[in-house]
Structures are given as structure tokens and as C-alpha cells.
């Protein structure tokens, strides 16, 4: 689904990502873990078109998408969420969702002015879709609330909900569990699994909560010091000596010689 080919990126003297290649299989929930500063977020931002890679290519379903701008990636079926939820604070929860669907007639100002009936009809369908998503996420009671008033976890759900307002095929999740309490965490992981099963979404996610990773992801890729050091099911990853070293520090393996 997503193919990452030999991506490298340096910031000044720091090699943030070094020669990483991996595949995210269609229909999978693929995890990416690693200690702080391992380069996970940089890799994500490169895929999402926020920062350019120094070398390497990214493919989405075989198509080269290296360096595409975020809004274009969206139209090719690749959407993302943010580690810190980005809600449209002074808009209602429902509006937050209704913004998303692409190619709304009403996004054309002239159509909004002069083809009002058409716009309304579409708007009605978009609204139905938003209501469905809210129900799916059990946020329906908050539809008319300003998004600013949601809790951190609810905002994360809303972020996930926005990805459901489109026919996304691949979703990048940046720490869906960060700052979320246990109850909501369960909801979020259920939603991810259901979206994966029922709608065939492919997920690629960064997460620090190992239990969540173990529950959701197969396979899991591990990064440390910018490089990929292990891949496989979580059970195997746990036994991997190099991974243990990376997390606990101390011993330095050949792939991990960090630069100054």
C-alpha cells in the first residue's frame, strides 16, 4: 500500500532518518515504534509531505508520491492525524467533520451563491455522513458542542473521525493513544480495528503504548537512531536483543553509531 524506499533525512549534522525502507501491506495495521529521537515522526512527516526527504522515494499503491503536498495526498487516499489533536476550535464538532469530504459543490463560491439547492442537497448528505461517524465514535451527544470544549481524548476521536469522512485507503496515525485515558483508549482502538475490518482501511501508526501496539499491530517496525533495526510481530520484537538495547540504552550496536 505504502512503500518507503531508502528514505534519508538530515537536519544540520543530525541524521534523523537513515536509509529506511519498509512496506505497509494493504489491509494491515502496521506499527512503528522506537525510543524518542529515533526518527519516527520525521519519517511520518516525510510521508505526509510536510518535509522533503534528502534521498529516497515514497510510493502509494505503486504511484510515486514523494514530496506531494498534504492536500494532494489526501485526494489520493492518504490521510493523517496529528499527535497533538488539531481541532477547528471555534467550530462545532459536526462542522469539524463536515469540512472534510472532498469535492463539495458548495466549496465553489459561485455554486454556493447561485446553485443553492444543489449545495443544500449535498450538504444534507454530508451531514448524514457526519452523523454516522459521530454515532460510530459515540460522540453524537456532542455534535453541536464547540470542538474547543472537548477533552483531549475526545479530540483524538474527532481527529480519527475526520479520516472517516472521506474514502481514505491509507491512514497515518501519529500517536493515537497519547494523552488519552483508559476508557477512551479502548474506544479509539476499537474504532481503528473496526475501520480496518469493516472498511478495509490500511493503518500505519506511531505509538508509544506498547500494549496498544501489541493489541492492534502486525507487523511492527522498530526505529532507533534514524535507522530501522527490526521488523516483525510484536511477540518477536519483544525478544529481540537489539530492540531491548535500543530501549534501555547502554550497549551500542553497529547500526546505531550516532553522530554528534
Amino acid at each position: 500500500m505504502i512503500r518507503i524506499e531508502r528514505i534519508s533525512k538530515a537536519f544540520g549534522g543530525l541524521q534523523a532518518v537513515r536509509d529506511v525502507s519498509l512496506d505497509v501491506e494493504p489491509g494491515s495495521i502496521t506499527g512503528l515504534i522506537g525510543p524518542n529521537g529515533a526518527g519516527k515522526s520525521t519519517l511520518f512527516n516525510i510521508i505526509a509531505g510536510l518535509i522533503p526527504a534528502d534521498t529516497g522515494r515514497i510510493y502509494l499503491e505503486g504511484q510515486d508520491i514523494t514530496g506531494r503536498r498534504p492536500h494532494r495526498l489526501f485526494h489520493q487516499g492518504l490521510v493523517r492525524t496529528f499527535q497533538v489533536p488539531h481541532e477547528f476550535a471555534r467550530m462545532t464538532v459536526r462542522e469539524n467533520l463536515m469540512v472534510v469530504p472532498p469535492a463539495q459543490a458548495g466549496e465553489n463560491l459561485l455554486q454556493s451563491w447561485f446553485r443553492w439547492e444543489k449545495v443544500r442537497r449535498q450538504e444534507s448528505a454530508v451531514r448524514d455522513r457526519a452523523e454516522d461517524v459521530l454515532e460510530f465514535l459515540s460522540l453524537d451527544h456532542l455534535a453541536d458542542e464547540r470542538a474547543a470544549n472537548l477533552s483531549g481524548g475526545q479530540k483524538k476521536l474527532l481527529d480519527l473521525g475526520r479520516t472517516m469522512m472521506t474514502d481514505a485507503r491509507a491512514v497515518l496515525l501519529d500517536e493515537p493513544g497519547a494523552g488519552v485515558n483508559r476508557t477512551l483508549l479502548g474506544k479509539i482502538s476499537d474504532a481503528i480495528q473496526r475501520l480496518n475490518r469493516e472498511r478495509g482501511y490500511t493503518f500505519f501508526l506511531i505509538e508509544h503504548d506498547m500494549d496498544l501496539i501489541a493489541k492492534l499491530c502486525n507487523p511492527v517496525h522498530v526505529m532507533a537512531n534514524g535507522g530501522l533495526i527490526a521488523s516483525g510481530p510484536m511477540a518477536e520484537i519483544r525478544q529481540n536483543e537489539e530492540v531491548r538495547e535500543a530501549y534501555l540504552g547502554g550497549g551500542v550496536s553497529a547500526t546505531m553509531g550516532a553522530s554528534e
Binding site: F88, A89, R90, V99, W113, V119, E123, S124, E131, R146
Partner: protein, 321 residues
């Protein structure tokens, strides 16, 4: 003052309110909806006013023209010309932060003012352009109304039209995207919206509305000179109106125009009555100070204005009502 004097005053009062309300609506589209900072409203206002004046006035030895097109052609020309200026500024500053947009807009406004003052062949410079006809004055005379009253009716009609369009734009998915951009750009981009396009559209449409305001002003006032486009009248009052009324809220823009114009023109009476002989020259600056202080008080105590922004009423019902 006799009745007819009061009536004449009220006509002029509401005509100005109407013109300023149009400017405030244009600014609301740029600032209120999208968060774009245009501090050169006077420039767009001037482009509209002079374009319409040049297109419609009779031949004059003092400046280009003599086209004598009808009023509506002047208005359309004004809208197109100011939209083009907006397109130029918007395209240049699209990727820059707000401060640069602000400086660029003020730069274009001041530059335009220099052009108007210096290019006599085009605008008759500081001596100004006159003989700009009021709209449809023959028609209004035929039905027994003064040309001033006719102007008020025309301004009111245009205001109604602009309000309708701007409010519809706000309620529409288009306006929703603008508000999303204002709230959070990265998330709007991640939702697949081409931020640059939406922002430019809002800026251009807002500029066009300001140009329309300029054309209406030219035809009501009948005379144009660079003095009218000082930042005080053209820009500052409009900003205070929108902030006081409630930016993001179109009703707030209307209300702000009424309230601030009342204070502004009311203060003229108070000061000319209250200031001692020989000090009447101070009335102008004192009024500016009054409005300036009012702005600071609003920003400190009630930055959301008299009518805070509310989520627009849903334009379509879902299954669940």
C-alpha cells in the same frame, strides 16, 4: 434644524452607514472568516471609486475619460479593477505570515494614493474629479425623489445584495473551509483543502466588495480627491466597525457600521457645539482620539465585539433533524 434639514441629514447619514457597512462586510470576509489582515482597505476603496468615476464621467480637459458609461458599467468596472488588485496582492503574499500581508496592503494603499495624487492626467491629482453623477437620478426625479434619496435607495439595494451573498458564503461549505483555515491550517491541509486557493478567493472577493463600496461612494459624493482615501477614513473606521460589531459575524459588521458611524458623526456635533471659539480646528483630531481609544477599550475588554461570532445555522437538515 427644520424638518427637511433633518431629513436630508438622515439620508446622508444612512447612505454613509450603508457604504461603510459594505466595506465592513468585505473586510469580514478577509479578516473575520479567514484571518487575513488587510490594513489597506482605503486602497481598494480608492481603486473602485476612481475606476467607476473614470468610466462614467463626461469628457474633461483635466483627466482621461469621457466614456460616459452608465452607472452600472462603472460599478462592474470598479468591482473588476479592485478584484484584480486584490488578486495581485493576494498572490504575492499568499505564503507569508499575517504581518507581511498587513504591510503589503498598507503599501499598496499608500502607493495608490501617491499615484492618484501625482498622475494628474489620470485622476486630476489633488484637485480631484468632479461631475460624477448620482445613480439613476433621472429616474428618481421622475418618480419625485431627490437624487440623494435615490442614492440611499441604490446603496441600500447593493448592501442588501452584498449581505445576502456574504452571509450565504459564510453558511456554505466554502465559508466553512475558510473558518477551518483560520482555526488550524495544517489540519485543513490534511483534510485535502488547497489552502492557498481558498485564501486567495476570500481576499479577492473581499477586495471586490470594497471596490464596490468605493464606486457607490464616488457616485453619492460626486467628487473624489486623494484626501478621501487617507487611512483614517478608508481603513481605520472600517476596522473599528468590524471589531466593535463582532468580527466573523455579518450582523456584527452591520451593527458596527451603524454604531461607529453614529459615534463618529455624532462626535462632530458634540465637538462643534462644545469646543470654545477658536478651538474648532481641534475637533478632527479629538474625534480620532475618541475612536482610537474606543478601539483599545474594545480590544481589551470585549475583543469578540458586541455580537460574537456564532456557528452558522445549518443549511440542510440531516436524517436526524
Amino acid at each position: 434644524m427644520e424638518i427637511s434639514g433633518i431629513a436630508a441629514y438622515l439620508v446622508s447619514f444612512f447612505t454613509f452607514v450603508g457604504i461603510y457597512a459594505i466595506l465592513a462586510l468585505g473586510l469580514n470576509m478577509q479578516w473575520g472568516f479567514t484571518g487575513q489582515f488587510n490594513i489597506g482597505i482605503a486602497g481598494f476603496f480608492a481603486v473602485g471609486a476612481y475606476t467607476s468615476a473614470i468610466l462614467t464621467t463626461p469628457e474633461s480637459p483635466w483627466h482621461v475619460g469621457g466614456f460616459q458609461h452608465p452607472f452600472l458599467v462603472g460599478v462592474v468596472g470598479a468591482v473588476i479593477a479592485s478584484a484584480l488588485v486584490g488578486l495581485l496582492i493576494g498572490a504575492i503574499t499568499a505564503r507569508l505570515r499575517t504581518d507581511y500581508l498587513a504591510i503589503a496592503t498598507i503599501g499598496i494603499a499608500e502607493t495608490l494614493r501617491l499615484v492618484i495624487a501625482n498622475e494628474g492626467w489620470l485622476t486630476n491629482g489633488v484637485r480631484g474629479m468632479s461631475n460624477i453623477d448620482r445613480p439613476f437620478s433621472d429616474f428618481f426625479q421622475a418618480i419625485g425623489l431627490s437624487s440623494a434619496m435615490g442614492s440611499l435607495i441604490v446603496v441600500a439595494a447593493f448592501l442588501a445584495g452584498v449581505y445576502f451573498l456574504v452571509e450565504r458564503a459564510r453558511q456554505s461549505p466554502w465559508g466553512r473551509v475558510l473558518r477551518a483555515i483560520r482555526e488550524d491550517e495544517p489540519a485543513t491541509a490534511a483534510a485535502g483543502k488547497n489552502i492557498g486557493r481558498f485564501r486567495l478567493e476570500a481576499f479577492v472577493v473581499g477586495s471586490a466588495i470594497m471596490g464596490l463600496g468605493g464606486a457607490l461612494y464616488a457616485h453619492y459624493f460626486g467628487f473624489l480627491s486623494p484626501e478621501a482615501f487617507l487611512p483614517l477614513y478608508g481603513t481605520f473606521l472600517v476596522w473599528v466597525m468590524l471589531i466593535a460589531g463582532g468580527s466573523g459575524n455579518n450582523k456584527g459588521a452591520l451593527l458596527g457600521a451603524v454604531v461607529i458611524w453614529t459615534i463618529w458623526s455624532g462626535s462632530e456635533f458634540v465637538m462643534s457645539a462644545g469646543l470654545p471659539e477658536g478651538y474648532t480646528g481641534y475637533a478632527g483630531p479629538l474625534r480620532v482620539i475618541l475612536i482610537g481609544v474606543l478601539l483599545q477599550v474594545i480590544l481589551i475588554t470585549r475583543p469578540e465585539g458586541i455580537l460574537p461570532e456564532k456557528a452558522p445555522r445549518a443549511i440542510a437538515k440531516g436524517r436526524r433533524g
